[in-house]
């Protein structure tokens, strides 16, 4: 179902000229202002099948376990893998990322994930976003604790932004985060001729949200966000360098993050979700269900990188998913919930063009029960290196309580 939205209406109406004066558009600052990277955290919800994303074509066990949905070895033929290093290949739908790989700004980690063995989406996502695998005793998320432990003096409502209709659990914490479904829709509704009425209504409403009560604080945050977007309003947004974001919720979310990052509204972290990875049946191989969502991911990342251009030196994008999927394909042409998985890292501070992590192998004796890719790198080790080196927050004990990362993988340079 593709509902008729305000946004699609404006797009079909030709944008620009018909927009009311109070419609939010962001003014762009010329240069990035922070010394820290902006973190863009993309959560692939549903348990992405990492074995068909960063494909271990050099492991014979892969083809034995994936007789129908396996990605063919790189051969140049359509539908074959895109070679990375002779052992790993990208799914062909990720071909747009090869350029970023060659440029040295994109890296992958494999056989990574949360050490907790749950195969429940709910628990696995919850643990991963809390950053405390196996424990739900700490109510905050890892990004929330990062923001709470680094004193940037930044009080912008856009310091932490969760794209979507609900706020990502990783953002929960002492610093209020703004949930934003879309910039274009973030204002109180009404006609241009009613601008004065809307302003009067808004101040009447604000007077009712004046206490320190939880809901009132959410209301105050919302008013601040409306004001910040209205204050920065000018001109309509055009992605740069020919960047073409996919025309999907994910593409729109990345467009909005790019817009906020460029406008220097104090953005430090943004969370974006992409669903559709729970491929129990008819997953497909080089084409099909998973290929479609991979193409969306690749198009989004490539567009974001092109659009942000020089600013990517101060941006780190990281992808994660709650768990990988079973090594052996099932009888329905899909894969069931597994364990070890991949992560992508994209940014100017990333030591790219490398697949990090020890490869545990796919032979029967090398698998984690009941037939899953083993985890050799705790995902917190990857994130700790980013938090430390790119976000310049050394308080890793606050961000990941009870976890001491082993030696870093060396995937990020010190900012």
């Amino acid at each position: 179902m593709t509902p008729f939205t305000r946004r699609s209406f404006l797009r079909s109406a030709g944008l620009g000229l018909t927009l009311p004066a109070w419609f939010p558009r962001l003014a762009f600052a010329a240069t990035p202002s922070s010394e820290r990277d902006v973190l863009v955290c993309i959560f692939l919800r549903g348990g992405a099948d990492g074995l068909n994303v960063v494909v271990p074509v050099g492991d014979a066990g892969y083809f034995q376990n994936r007789p129908t949905i396996g990605i063919p070895e790189p051969s140049g033929a359509a539908g074959s893998g895109v070679d990375l290093d002779g052992f790993f290949a990208l799914h062909p739908a990720l071909a747009p990322l090869k350029e970023l790989w060659d440029e040295g700004v994109l890296a992958a980690v494999h056989a990574t994930g949360s050490p907790d063995g749950t195969h429940s989406h709910f628990d696995a996502m919850d643990f991963m976003e809390r950053g405390t695998p196996g424990s739900k005793s700490i109510p905050t998320g890892w990004i929330g604790r990062h923001l709470g432990s680094v004193a940037t003096g930044n009080t912008s409502p856009f310091r932490a932004v969760g794209m979507g209709t609900i706020l990502q659990a990783s953002l929960r914490g002492p610093v209020p985060a703004t949930a934003l479904r879309s910039i274009a829709e973030f204002h109180l509704g009404g006609k241009t001729t009613q601008a004065a009425d809307i302003a009067r209504f808004q101040s009447g409403l604000a007077a009712l949200y004046a206490s320190q009560d939880w809901l009132d604080l959410q209301g105050q945050q919302t008013f601040q966000a409306i004001a910040a977007l209205a204050h920065a309003a000018t001109g309509s947004y055009q992605p740069q360098n020919g960047a073409q974001y996919p025309d999907t919720d994910f593409g729109h979310a990345l467009t909005d993050v790019a817009q906020i990052a460029k406008a220097d509204l104090g953005l430090e972290v943004a969370c974006v979700d992409l669903g559709g990875w729970d491929t129990h049946a008819t997953q497909g191989g080089a084409t099909g269900r998973q290929a479609k969502v991979l193409a969306e991911l690749a198009a989004g990342l490539a567009a974001f990188h092109a659009d942000l251009a020089d600013r990517m030196g101060r941006i780190t994008v990281v992808t994660m998913s709650e768990f990988g999927r079973r090594v052996h394909e099932n009888a329905s042409g899909g894969t069931d919930h597994g364990h070890g998985n991949f992560m992508f890292l994209l940014g100017g501070g990333i030591n790219g063009r490398q697949v990090y992590g020890d490869w545990p192998g796919l032979s029967p004796g090398q698998l984690a029960s009941p037939g899953d890719l083993a985890i050799t790198t705790d995902y917190r080790t990857v994130l700790a290196e980013i938090v430390d080196r790119r976000l310049k927050n050394p308080k890793l004990g606050d961000v990941f309580p009870g976890f001491t990362p082993p030696a870093y993988l060396g995937l990020a340079r010190a900012a």
């Binding site: 989406h121 209709t165 609900i166 985060a177 479904r181 509704g189 009425d197 939880w214 809901l215 979700d273």
Partner: protein, 139 residues
Amino acid sequence: MTAAGAKALLNTLRLQGQLPFDWHPPNGYPDANAAWGNTNGLLNRWNFGLALGGNHIAGVTTDVDALTPGLKNPTATTLTDALGKRLLARGLTSADRGRVIQYVADGRPANAPIPATKIKTSVAGAIALLLDSPYFQWR
């Protein structure tokens, strides 16, 4: 309500992330206030209150007269009290009641009858403000 109205209401649910059977991750809709009580949800609920009060949802008609039975020549005060009783089913604090009355009065005396030309917008504004207030949002 017409078919177009139903479509508009479904779109409202979509904007709030509450469209039935549309939760992509397989873990089910969250049931914690921290997930829903956020800027996006609040803004969209506010806008829904504005649209409903102002009868701006195509295909959906709010029978505002039915909300204030027997109210003749309303003033900002009597209108606020009548709508507050009907919509909130509980009292406003006296400070908040004063704030709503002040908004509805729009600079006019609070106990003077609202001019006929202003009745429609006053009622729409009062409904929207009460629906968008924390009182209704907590319900």
